[in-house]
Amino acid sequence: MAEQKAALRPPIESGCPDGFQYMHPAMRKNYGQWKFHEHPRPGVLRHVAHSGDEIWTVKAGTQRILDSYTLRKLTSIGDEFADGFVRFTLRSNIEYMVTDQAKVEPLIKALEDAGFVVGGTANSVAMISHTQGWLHCDIPGTDASGVVKAMMDELIDEFKNCNMPNRVHLTTSCCQINCGGQGDIAINVQHTKPPKINHDLVSNVCERPSVVARCPVAAIRPAQVNGKPSLEVDEKKCICCGACFPPCPPMQINDPIHTQLAIWVGGNHSNARSKPTFQKLVAAGIPNNPPRWPEATAIVKQILKAYKEGAKDWERINDWIDRIGWPRFFEVTGLPFTKYHIDNWRGARNSLNASTHIRF
């Protein structure tokens, strides 16, 4: 044991590494000196520097959770066709940068021959940003990689082409914490029943005061159940959000039937045109239906179709809905408008229409 201890060395707390050592030389040379960019075809960007230097970027979608064979395939393509430099985007696409235009087509061919998908630039449907799901998370209501694989199979043409009015960012999240973040369209878990509590385990596993404090609506209180200290939930107050589950796993929120999916639209992080916006609920009650989740994909496609037909150039989904109004959105997408769409959380009043601005 002492020997083993001696073998442990203190970590080198180097923190975030310097990226310049991994940057393409043309990017290092022209750092901060770029003049403009163009979008010659889907999946390709051309940036031109004040020096006259150019860099061509080829973007490709992958399965995100890479096995070492796939990663080595991606690096070998980088070695053979792209000077050995890559980067990854926020949405886990890989980007290759080359200075020689002649390398672009062979690079695209090599990527496509290896099964990767070139696209995801400009007004395309971008790769779905997603979380861990059943594969690795401790609290997931659904899978992530599987939902995304199934959905991208159906949306691949929209990824490879630029036929949308503006870019569309999709996200998925496997619980209501929503690690997937905001999106033009977000497919998120929505629990619909209160947690089922295993009272035998609560006192051993959970720090009860912090579980009580975690509840957004103060629906949890300490209680003696079957003579044991436990917790109880006021099910009339409970909003089924699952916030109690991570700190207290015996408060099981996930359920094969009652854990469902909801779809939210109009989240936009950019400051372009309007200020950034949060996504809004449009559809719920969607079954969590592995392995291909067809019901969720169908609704996403319905929304995309209406957006593609109805939006003007450069309108993101939130811009489009701002212009046409929510009643028209529900009309053109064919989605039902229910009492659950009317917000009752703090600040809800700001979402009510206090005017006679009504479209007929």
Partner: protein, 422 residues
């Protein structure tokens, strides 16, 4: 590996169909073709557990406490609840490793990381997780230490997990984007590397995230997703190349430019003139980026660049979504002194957060609870009308300090004027 031990995966097999690259095919390759038996068995076991999840619609991982020697965080521990049935992946921890700003890699470095990971882990990696880490998914407690020691020797460090300063993110930035208004790379490293201790040893009320975007397009979603968002901007006039404007109008037509550029300006500050040149009322431009996005050759940011800082963004848990709000409308970031200033503000913010937030409360929620003014006074930042959409609309407030506050405002304005006159 003994073929008879392969877990059947009828539901996952369905995810091998279709044109998008399949993670299941990748895992199966690790199971069937990798030369190392340990990895074959781990992949087989993982696939078995995932199939079980698909069949029962439930997850089977639980957390725990695993870290490397000297650190308190950086590992996501995962122990299987069905380890008896799938023993080879019953410990399947993830290491979160900090990437460089902008996520640049040489293929040599990726291969080296891959070599190390195959030696000590499952061989499964994600670039990157939602916080921004490289996720090395799947190893035992022992493997965690060995893998970290090995990659730590060649320049890689763990990121944050738990209530701590988290791994930061920066956009592609000045390395390849003409819209970049700051040195994202330097900003991110200055910030996050000042707080390595707070990254590695979780001791805050809850997580604290930095994100850096080079321009208001905010490709890092920093306003929505970080406690401390740094966004590049400029305060002089945008640059207009009128020849390129004319060329653009020639190419697209006047109607297109009016419909897609001038009328989309949120403050109505652009005019397309009869001679196909553009006039911009720069005093009213809010740097939204729309016109620059459309006319990438003709329009570009000005020269007097800096950053806007917004504090308090976060997602739902616990009080609902919050955007970050403006705390510093403009800050120059050129000199070492400027960088000291932004690092000081971050330190003040984190200290104030550590002392005043409730357990499991994010910075934005704390500000919501105590009010922005209390936060500003706590970190030593003066109020500014850029912080609000509008002034207060309810009269229920005690205002007997008005005269002093008004005086302070005029004094500040006079000082600013004197400083500008130089």
């Amino acid at each position: 590996m003994d073929k008879s031990k392969i877990h059947p995966t009828p539901m996952l097999d369905v995810l091998e169909d279709g044109p998008w690259p399949s993670f299941i095919s990748g895992f199966k390759r690790m199971r069937d073709e990798h030369p190392e038996q340990r990895i074959n068995e781990m992949a087989n076991s993982l696939l078995g557990q995932l199939e079980h999840s698909y069949e029962t619609r439930k997850g089977y991982w639980k957390g725990g406490t695993v870290s490397v020697f000297g650190y308190g965080g950086g590992i996501i521990p995962r122990f299987s609840e069905v380890g008896h049935a799938f023993p080879e992946s019953k410990e399947f921890h993830t290491l979160r490793v900090q990437p460089p700003p902008g996520n640049y890699y040489t293929t040599d470095m990726l291969n080296q990381l891959c070599d190390s990971w195959e030696k000590h882990g499952s061989g499964m990696i994600t670039f990157h997780g939602q916080t921004g880490n490289i996720m090395f998914i799947g190893t035992t407690t022992k493997g965690t230490q060995h893998f970290f020691d090995e990659i730590n020797d060649y320049g890689w460090d763990l990121g944050g997990a738990g209530p701590c300063v988290r791994t930061a993110m920066a956009c592609v930035g000045a390395a390849r984007c003409e819209q970049s208004c700051t040195n994202e790379h330097a900003v991110m490293r200055h910030l996050v590397n000042t707080f390595t201790d707070d990254v590695h040893r979780p001791a805050l009320p809850y997580k604290f995230k930095f994100k850096v975007s080079g321009c208001p397009n905010d490709c890092m979603n920093s306003i929505e997703r970080s406690d401390f968002a740094v966004i590049g901007t400029w305060r002089d006039d945008m640059k207009i190349d009128q020849d390129e404007v004319k060329a653009f109008v020639e190419l697209k037509g006047r109607d297109y430019v009016i419909d897609n550029v001038t009328t989309r300006c949120p403050t109505d500050c652009m005019t397309l003139n009869d001679d196909n040149t553009l006039t911009v009322d720069n005093k009213n431009c809010v740097r939204c980026m729309h016109c620059l996005n459309v006319m990438t050759k003709a329009l570009s940011p000005g020269d007097d660049k800096g950053v806007t800082i917004l504090i308090g963004g976060k997602r739902t848990l616990k009080i609902g979504d919050l955007m970050g709000t403006v705390v510093v409308p403009f800050m120059k970031l050129d000199t070492a002194e400027d960088y000291e200033k932004i690092v000081d503000l971050a330190s003040e913010t984190i200290d104030f957060f550590a002392e005043n937030a409730l357990e499991h409360e994010r910075t934005g929620e704390m500000i919501e609870r105590i009010g922005l003014v209390n936060f500003l006074e706590g970190v030593g930042v003066d109020v500014d009308p850029n912080m609000v959409n509008s002034p207060r609309q309810c009269s229920y407030v005690r205002m007997d300090g008005w005269d002093e506050e008004a005086e302070a405002w005029f004094q500040r304005k006079a000082e600013e004027k004197a400083a500008a006159a130089g």
